[in-house]
């Protein structure tokens, strides 16, 4: 293999296309979300939280997959490492975008209501953990850890591009081992704080794993979408081939099953225990219109992608795989919607699913547009492949 140069794998000029489109969609979406804020504060914060969790799990999923690849190796990860790094590099932006949630705590989290907490012995006992200050301190801590890990791994990777020092490979592995552990712990706590505590009485020890696996699935689906775009443009069109997409398809299949396994395990445990403090999560979701939403989640998030991804030839065709990945991204949003909305409606004493759902959609499009604009900007800064990675030459012969 001849030497691989940074010039040869310079990012395509065509990146500016999706980048400016993302910004336009982002600004339009945020404008619509702003209109939603003026109409209904509660609904705005709900929509913003769902949209925020949808996109931060993409970034965290990419960070996790990147560390997983540093630890395990394999051709699949080298081809998309720059994408994973670019997505992980959006975490500082996401830290800033958390501010509206901090401002909307009163609307979102019942445990911020001191009068209600004082009147409720269970919430009083939990108030050592669930209180405003500690919530914010924890969130800051999560972002410090995540941003540090993303920065550290990206800068080591940049040094590897520049110098090709073989010791960097071991350093990347070392940081990934520590980082993966930290990521698993911080994401578990973040899932409890941001989503599970929406109903402060309810608890599920599987929630962190559900969140973590969901993030992996989000990150992978997003990776497939961007890889499909890259494979249509020079220089990646020369090297991203069928067998890589077959690998992404297999991973997507595995993550879809793992998500279903964990989401269902949680339900099975709570269903068989049938304890009053746990079953409150599922009862509203198994009644009335929410039943339809639950069946849709089961079909759309698991059964349909499962059956489609059984096909080996489909996993190799990037256009088809891209469609499945795009559908799963939509279902990821819907999974969060399904997790958040019934709980919040129960607190506000309402029960009308999908009312004003346009605000939720506007928020996820708006936030996503801005996030993608930042992501494409990151991707345009570096060569599309880690040119000095010790395994790259071998990978490029892989077909």
């Amino acid at each position: 293999m001849n030497a691989i140069t940074a010039n040869e794998f310079a990012p395509p000029a065509a990146i500016s296309g999706p980048r400016s489109k993302a910004l336009i969609f982002g600004l339009l979406g945020l404008a619509a979300t702003g209109a939603g804020f003026a109409m209904d504060h509660h609904h705005f914060f709900q929509a913003y939280l769902i949209a925020y969790v949808t996109w931060i799990t993409v970034a965290l999923g990419c960070l996790g997959l990147m560390m997983l690849h540093h630890l395990s190796g394999g051709a699949w990860g080298l081809m998309v490492r720059r994408q994973l790094e670019a997505a992980a590099g959006t975490l500082p932006l996401l830290a800033v975008l958390f501010i509206p949630i901090a401002l909307g705590m009163d609307s979102l989290y019942h445990w911020t209501d001191t009068v209600a907490v004082a009147a409720d012995p269970i919430l009083t006992n939990k108030s050592g953990y669930l209180n405003r200050d500690f919530f914010l301190v924890r969130t800051v801590l999560y972002f410090v850890i995540w941003c540090f890990l993303a920065w550290r791994l990206r800068s080591l990777s940049a040094q590897q591009d520049a110098t090709g020092d073989p010791r960097l490979f071991k350093q990347l592995q070392g940081w990934s081992a520590v980082g993966f552990l930290l990521l698993a712990l911080t994401m578990t706590f973040a899932s409890v704080d941001w989503v599970m505590s929406l109903d402060p009485h309810w608890f599920s020890s599987l929630y962190g794993l559900w969140f973590f696996t969901g993030a992996g699935l989000s990150g992978l689906a997003f990776t497939i979408l961007v890889a499909n775009w890259s494979a249509g443009h020079e220089p990646m069109s020369k090297v991203l081939v069928r067998s890589h997409f077959h690998d992404y398809g297999k991973l997507l299949f595995a993550f879809t099953m793992l998500w279903a396994y964990l989401a269902f395990s949680q339900m099975l445990l709570i269903w068989s225990g049938n304890l009053p403090e746990e079953i409150t999560f599922y009862l509203p979701r198994m009644r009335g219109v929410w039943t339809v939403a639950s069946v849709f989640l089961l079909l759309g998030h698991f059964i349909l992608p499962f059956l489609i991804l059984l096909s080996a030839s489909l996993k190799q065709r990037r256009n088809r795989l891209m469609q499945v990945a795009a559908w799963l991204m939509v279902m990821r949003w819907f999974d969060y919607y399904w997790n958040v909305v019934p709980t919040l409606q129960a607190h506000h004493g309402e029960f009308h699913p999908f009312q004003g759902v346009w605000i939720d959609i506007a928020a996820v499009v708006g936030l996503g547009g801005v996030w993608l604009w930042f992501f494409w900007g990151n991707l345009a800064k570096r060569p599309m492949l880690p040119i000095n990675d010790p395994f790259l030459a071998e990978t490029l012969g892989y077909d």
Binding site: F264, M267, L268, W271, S272, N274, L310, A312
Partner: protein, 185 residues
Amino acid sequence: MSHGHELETSGRLYGLMAEFDSPSTLVDATHQAYERGHRKMDAYAPFPIEELAEALGAHHSRLPLLVLIGGFVGCFAGFGLQYWVNVIEYPLNIAGRPFNSWPMFIPVTFEMTILFAALTAVFGMFALCGLPTPYHPVFNNPRFSAASKDRYFLCIEAEDGEFDRSETRDFLASLGPTEVTEVDH
């Protein structure tokens, strides 16, 4: 007994077998034989060679479909059995849950799906490969035992449409084998 067997079958040609000393010459030879129109042939090597299945044009197996059907049968059998027991034949009120307490049925349904799919995969593979085969003519070539050690064989069967005793022999000889043998039934 074995002597009588040989007498009975001698002269009935099973095919022509070429022996190669490297996997790449075998794959090349198989490609050329396929291009020449040979279909009733098989290649033998001591370890799996991915390109070989491709060269033999053997990529379209019916096994995946059988496994899928096996999985569905297991899925419906597993769920159906529990439904029949708990709802129709012997309904019991367990902690006030509905008789059709479907979340509780899923683990067994899942395991039955896997069990039936796996068993279909194993036995379907045997059936599609024609196993068990206590007697196979290729072993009449005394050198064939090397196929499980360090030699690579390509055998074009006499039943093949393009087969011609002398022409096929010349063709195989042109592919760089170490030896070409006639294999009797």
